[in-house]
Amino acid sequence: MTVQTKPPAPASATDDWAFAKFGIGQPVPRTEDPVLVQGQGRYTDDLQLPGQAHAVVVRSTHAHGVIRGIDTAAARAMPGVLGIYTAADLAAYGTLKCGVPLKNRDGSEMKKPLRPALAGDKVRFVGDPVAIVVAETLLQAKDAAEAVGVTIDPLPAVTLASAAAKPGAPQLFEDVPGNVALDYHYGDSEKVAAAFAQAAHVTKLSMRNTRLIVAAMEPRSAVGVYDKAREHWTLHSASQGVFGLKGQLVDILKAPPEKVRILTGHVGGSFGMKATVYPEYVGILHASRMLGRPVKWTDDRSGSFVSDHHGRDHEVTGELALDKDGHFLAVRLTSFANMGAFLATVGPLAGTLNAVKNVASVYRTPLLEVSAKCMFTNTTHVSAYRGAGRPEGNYYMERLIDAAATEMGLDRLALRRKNHIRPSQIPYSASSGMTYDSGDFPAIFKEAIDKADIKGFAARKRDSRKRGKLRGLGIGCYLEVTAPPNKEMGGIRFEPNGDVTIITGTLDYGQGHAAPFAQVLSAQLGIPFHRIRLLQGDSDELIAGGGTGGSRSITASGAAIVEASAKVIEQGKAIASHVLEASASDIEFDKGRFVIAGTDRAIGIMELAEKIRGGLQLPAGEPQSLDVKHASESVPSAFPNGCHVAEVEIDPDTGVVEVVTYSSVNDFGNLINPLLVEGQVHGGVLQGIGQALMENVCYDSDGQILSGSFMDYAMPRAHHAPPIGFVSHPVPAKTNPLGTKGCGEAGCAGALTSVMNAIVDALSVYGIRHIDMPASPARVWTAIQAAKQGAA
């Protein structure tokens, strides 16, 4: 199943009108919506293949233990049961792998314990899959799954990363002493230590970046199909890009690449979570091979809470060294990053490399050191979640700055201004090793301060006070380093029916790629917007693809489309030269037409495509079509940045926090489609407010998840969203042809920092200098009481 998205044709349209309405920079509505809101989307679970059987996964109910036996006899005898598979059945396949190439601080390799799809010897978290039951119907599979008897000798469990590092902590793997997967280090310790020694002031904060569930609206789902005659595997599954997923699956199945195909339909949210191969996919593919039938598996929500990877979960000590005037000298993070029970594909990245890249943000910070211990614990694995280390890094810095301002008696606005990298210093070589190509941080800051009417804050605070509320204002500057360079496909295909298909290796999982990508192509080639469709989810169509993630799609796919368009033009000139009977070198391309220079003789690109379809005879050795399969070589990371300002009101009697105002000024470079960009910011901000105020995965001391349903795990609702002010202040990126910077993750970065800083600002009347997320009523109230008692 693949989804091709094509916008509806406008009622009547001249091309000029279409250009104005669908050009780059226009707020074109999402073309997916008419399909999706009418319930005509094709999500993986909508697929019903002939002969399809259903799988249910048996999961460990213990957080840690030795498997003594799996008794499947009773379950096998139940009605409809077709097969039950355990680790032994999957022994021939490869294991799930972590793709992060980092080394320990002593240069040795990080520990990457093998992770087979099903647990064989030990279970290591609640939800660890131990068996797959396949039956004729879903209900039969469910009933049989309950009849599978798994005997486990429980072992003590550990769920907090810092606790896993303590002597005597339960050990997850025999060959991973102390549960340390990776002992990461970046920076020059001696120089950093010297800077701290010389500093006039050092600010130090311990911060916990909460563990979150990803909570995609669509649970994970997959259908595995093995074709015995062709020895060929097909996996229908949600993903964030089929090219990378295929690479992982080829490795696990030990199959030749041409024998594996991945198809992704519509995807209902992912946030980093659906990017990789999960154990269930291996299980159903094996089952399909054994049974000769397609096998479908769809998670239920209780399953999602433990089987989808989690996000964040870092315990960090942050330190900022300043000179007497408040100039930053160095920043140092020393942290534990919780990996869960095994390493996810990019699990270790957030707490290590991405912390390094993002912590210094928009500030001159000559020295930087990050030490991070990536720890195994008896919890669900942790991996990329909207930002994957970017919002975390920005959060630590912005909290440290506010704390430093308070401690040094400096104005927090002035302190930020003093340390902003100036436009004249750009290109700027940051202590992270990144070179910022563009940006105007002081101007954005000023605009954000003005937009938020900070001058009027004192009056608003008095008004809140009259109503018995504490009011606080928080600032959250951010700068994010988007995904590292990766080959990306820009395919352009002229279809028999006259449509033009864009093929990309990025994948829309809710963002709405179709409209902005079509806007880019339309601008390059003058192809009418409503003739353009988008194809992403078929690995057979792709020659490259980094997938969607790290806010990279418009930049990477945009560049690939621009480059591919140039190739289309080259091919078109050659072909048009035969139609127009002129030399190719005399032909120019202008607004969708191939023109003989200096004449009015021309042919439009759509007309040329029509002629080719009609059987135009072209000399051998010359381009035979306009179609292009292009792989763009690695567009570098961009540096989206901005400043968000939030105001909160706190009820001191109950600890209830409400975000009452929110504004933001953002530099995402050029906006291809401002409507969708603003939507990304809205979503990201509310997701950030969710983390700041309420979301939190809790485990008990046995490693049982306490927040295992939406009754216990609080998600933000519509009424938690304040009106979110959005201003674009573009400073185009210089490193990609469209000058875009990426906007997908910025909302979280701005919201975590501005909301938490606002809460601490409101609570500063009690002398409170830090409070951890989530700022739940209980935590806020308890902090107030503790501060009052401390003062008394």
Binding site: D300, T654, R717, H719, S776, P777, A778
Partner: protein, 282 residues
């Protein structure tokens, strides 16, 4: 379907339901609005052998004013109560509580009988019943009986309803002229079960509160009366009443709050509710 397999019987009358209960014993569960029951079935936290559906029984979804009492049939939906003029006029405390119960979709199906029978310690209606000193009508193999609210709640999810009994309705004293009601709750998000809540009734005349009944919810295994605080309020001393909560209540910790915080929040709620009880009416 998500739950484990179960048999299903549609009761045609109260007697029929009780006969079915007697026949199937422990493995049977009554199905009212299903808003609590079906969730536990779907998550396979419980697996009754048979569901006895009460939705086909006629005459259990009425709201009537009779002899100074408001009678509400067990199968009356939350949404019907929310829209009822009789409730607004004669049982205003229930009307005040209604918007706090879950969300509109759940209120369309959920029943008052289900809420009172289920007796979730953080639920609104059981506390209202207690604050109003209402009566619970129970039918069982030996016939019908009436239980006072003060005697009805026994423990966590445990009530005076026996294994083969069914709740058929509740009766509340219709609001007299000088009566006052107060309701407040703190929940993580609007519509969630309460972290702590208070339903109160009293008489207010010449600046004095009398006949005070305070029913806290979300702070113990059942809704609880705060009797020392009631006495203090009748004596006109709000501060003393708040202080008395220290002995009236002993909230256990739960996933959201620790007991000490809940105790404090109970005091905050009491001040807010007393304000409602004593404010001059427009």
């Amino acid at each position: 379907m998500k739950p484990a397999p179960f048999a299903y019987a549609k009761a045609r009358s109260v007697e029929d339901a009780i006969a079915l209960l007697a026949q199937h014993g422990e493995g049977a569960k009554l199905l009212a609005g299903g808003q609590s029951l079906i969730a536990t079935l779907n998550m396979r936290l419980s697996a009754p052998r048979i569901l006895i559906d009460l939705n086909g029984i006629a005459g259990l979804n009425s709201i009537t004013l009779k002899g100074g009492e408001v009678e509400i049939g067990a199968m009356t939906r939350h949404a019907e109560i929310e829209r009822s003029d009789v409730i607004r006029k004669h049982a205003p405390l229930i009307a005040m509580a209604m918007p706090h119960i879950a969300h509109p979709a759940i209120r369309n199906r959920g029943t008052i009988g289900g809420s009172i029978a289920f007796a979730d310690p953080a639920a609104e209606l059981p506390a209202c019943l207690l604050a109003l000193g209402g009566l619970v009508e129970i039918a069982g193999p030996k016939g019908k009986r009436t239980v006072k609210a003060d005697d009805y709640f026994k423990g966590l999810y445990e009530t005076a309803i026996g294994a083969c009994d069914m709740l058929t309705g509740i009766r509340l004293p219709a609001a007299p002229a000088a009566s006052r009601y107060g309701f407040a709750e703190l929940s993580r998000r609007h519509g969630d079960y309460a972290v702590a809540g208070l339903a109160a009734s009293a008489t207010f005349a010449s600046g004095k509160l009398t006949k005070v009944r305070l029913a806290f919810f979300g702070v113990d295994l059942t809704p609880v009366r705060a009797k020392a605080a009631e006495m203090a309020l009748a004596g006109g001393d709000l501060d003393k009443a708040v202080a008395a909560l220290a002995s009236d209540l002993d909230p256990p910790d739960d996933i959201q709050e620790n007991g000490a915080v809940k105790k404090h929040l109970a005091g905050v709620l009491l001040r807010r509710v007393v304000q409602q009880l004593t404010e001059t009416r427009a």
